[in-house]
């Protein structure tokens, strides 16, 4: 069970998650400091370590729309936040899966800041309101990447297989 620490609306763009003016910072080890930089209070809480790992951000439709900047996923991954949204924009969703950021697609989610949610494979139980909401599976094409722990280990595995098969020939 984890707490909702931030509630957002529809169409939260990558410019809100990770403003363009910080794009010169690229390394996943450095991006977390700018997460939601234009929400100074929340950003300050994150930086002070006041938000425990596994805390939940709840959003509406089309979370992560806009830029392909991977910083938007790595900045959230750095704080080990879990994002529950009605749906996600394509590139953000893929970046998140590639980096191992946890996303949950929950088309009817109703939750407020402070609510305690239990996330199960097929549903979310809002322990504060007592309501349950169905969870949609992530695209099946991405399962192998999730299982491998992200795209880097998955690609490494494929690279080694390729190198081994070349040796045999």
């Amino acid at each position: 069970m984890a707490r909702v620490v931030l509630k957002l609306g529809d169409d939260i763009s990558t410019d809100i998650i990770y403003p363009g003016r910080f794009m010169a910072t690229v390394l996943p080890t450095e991006t977390p400091q700018y997460a939601f930089a234009d929400f100074p209070e929340f950003n300050a809480q994150l930086k002070k370590g006041e938000i425990p790992a596994g805390s939940i951000v709840v959003a509406g439709k089309n979370f992560g729309c806009g830029s392909s900047r991977e910083q938007a996923a790595s900045t959230l991954k750095g704080h080990e936040l879990v994002i529950v949204a009605k749906n996600f924009a394509r590139i953000f969703l893929q970046n998140a899966i590639n980096l191992g950021l946890r996303l949950v697609v929950c088309p009817e989610i109703e939750a407020e800041e402070g609510d305690e949610l239990e996330i199960l494979p097929d549903k979310i139980i809002n322990r504060t309101s007592g309501k349950e909401f169905r969870v949609e599976p992530l695209p099946k094409a991405r399962q192998a990447i999730i299982d491998a722990g992200g795209l880097i280990p998955y690609t490494r595995q494929r690279l080694l297989e390729k190198a081994a098969s070349r040796k045999k020939v």
């Binding site: 439709k61 970046n95 690279l159």
Partner: protein
């Protein structure tokens, strides 16, 4: 059932006779493009090779393009260091399609790729930029990916685990009216289907209004297809595509072209008669908050921007120069012009457009993404309003969450520069 344009391309790129929407494929990549975020791609690429005992080597240096455009010349020491790291990698890996910050080869990636003849119809193109959708204008399946995914492409030459997207067929009939441009068409479409209306889908463009449209206009509509959430926009290649490739992009030899099957299965069909279309404006802070220019109300503007991968091409500069020639932009308005590439810059210089714009009071900047993404070259002050031919108006986009950005065509931008208010170009300035 036949195949859509993208299904046909993916069938070829995977060596299969037929693929259908929803199927999972690993297509071969013909071109892999990055810009400054190549710095992150390099980091992730080296990470893939870590502890493998293998020497990091890209799968095919001739299929990788890197164009410095997002922050040129470097706005900070951090960016300059990233750009330096990219140059070193490019030299070490022998990547030839590299466009540095130079007056004889630089510009925005989404203009450099088409004008250099790097994109061919029927191929798979990926880029670490969401507006990679642009290259569908030449009949390629072209889409944006993240940096780690690009590191994977650099390693294996394929995009892993792609779900074949369903396609929405957009049919544009009629003829565009005076000062109604491709930008107005794509803004109208985004307003109609919403910012997530094509999420995980492809927008395939058809109809007489597309057939009569230049490649420049097609680049504008495919570019902004991502603002409706689309994986890609695509125009089936035709005579205009071949003309552009031969005459403007210098492509030699035979170019193979094919369209979708006549019995292809579409997710939905959207029809738009462009004859009825008025100039459109996307109001803050969402790209789908679109209204005809006449219904925006009296909005005073502080900064006008003409440029970007959406509208920084020669015909965009031509329409702005035509409206502004011999006139003065309104007092209190600053106008910034970013040609999309140095080739366009030189053409516009020769044709006198840049002189017309500068004499009217505009500032002509160096080709690049400029202020579009809010890093440098024209940030907004608190409470200021920008009217821009770029592609995004999200809160904070132009560097300040306390400012507002409206999006429009170059004709609306130029007409508004004369009055200082958002203005219908058909009614003219003062």
């Amino acid at each position: 059932m036949g195949m859509t344009m993208v299904e046909k391309i993916l069938a070829r790129a995977t060596g299969q006779k037929k693929v259908t929407a929803g199927q999972v494929v690993e297509p071969k990549v013909s071109l892999a493009m990055s810009h400054e975020n190549a710095a992150l791609v390099i980091n992730q690429f080296l990470e893939v090779y870590k502890d493998t005992g293998l020497k990091p080597k890209v799968w095919d240096p001739d299929k990788i393009a890197i164009i410095l455009d997002h922050r040129v010349p470097a706005e900070s020491s951090k960016t300059a260091t990233n750009q330096k790291k990219i140059r070193e990698f490019v030299a070490a890996q022998k990547i030839k399609k590299f466009h540095d910050i130079r007056g004889d080869q630089g510009g925005i990636c989404h203009q450099i790729l088409p004008e250099s003849g790097y994109v061919l119809p029927g191929t798979v193109v990926v880029g670490t930029d969401s507006h990679t959708t642009s290259h569908g204008a030449l009949g390629a399946f072209s889409f944006g990916i993240g940096a780690t995914e690009m590191a994977s492409v650099w390693t294996l030459g394929r995009v892993l685990n792609v779900e074949v997207p369903p396609t929405i067929k957009v049919v544009a009939t009629g003829r565009f009216g005076r000062y109604v441009l491709p930008k107005d068409f794509i803004l109208y479409l985004i307003g109609k289907i919403s910012a997530e209306g094509a999420n995980f889908k492809v927008l395939e463009y058809h109809g007489p209004a597309i057939e009569h449209m230049s490649t420049s206009g097609r680049l504008t509509i495919c570019n902004m297809s991502v603002e409706a959430g689309a994986t890609s926009g695509i125009v089936p290649p035709d005579r205009e595509t071949l003309r552009y490739l031969k005459e403007e992009a210098g492509v030699k030899g035979k170019v193979e072209v094919f369209g979708p099957d006549s019995d292809a299965e579409y997710d939905q069909i959207v029809e738009i008669d462009v004859s009825e279309l008025e100039p459109q404006v996307a109001c803050p802070h969402m790209v789908d908050n679109v209204k005809p220019v006449g219904r925006v109300g009296k909005v005073k503007v502080d900064q006008i921007v003409i440029g970007s991968c959406t509208n920084g091409r020669l015909d965009d500069l031509a329409v702005a120069a035509k409206i502004l020639k011999g006139k003065k932009i309104a007092r209190g308005v600053r106008m910034l012009v970013f040609p999309a590439s140095f080739r366009i810059y030189q053409q516009a210089l020769k044709l006198g457009y840049l002189a017309d714009l500068v004499k009217a009071g505009a500032v002509v900047m160096n080709p690049g993404c400029g202020c579009c993404l809010g890093v440098h070259q024209g940030a907004l002050g608190d409470g200021e309003v920008a009217l821009s031919t770029t592609n995004r108006n999200f809160k904070g986009r132009m560097g300040n969450p306390r400012a507002e950005v409206y999006l429009c065509s170059p004709a609306v931008a130029a007409a508004s520069a004369l009055t200082g208010y958002i203005t219908d170009p058909r009614k003219g300035g003062k």
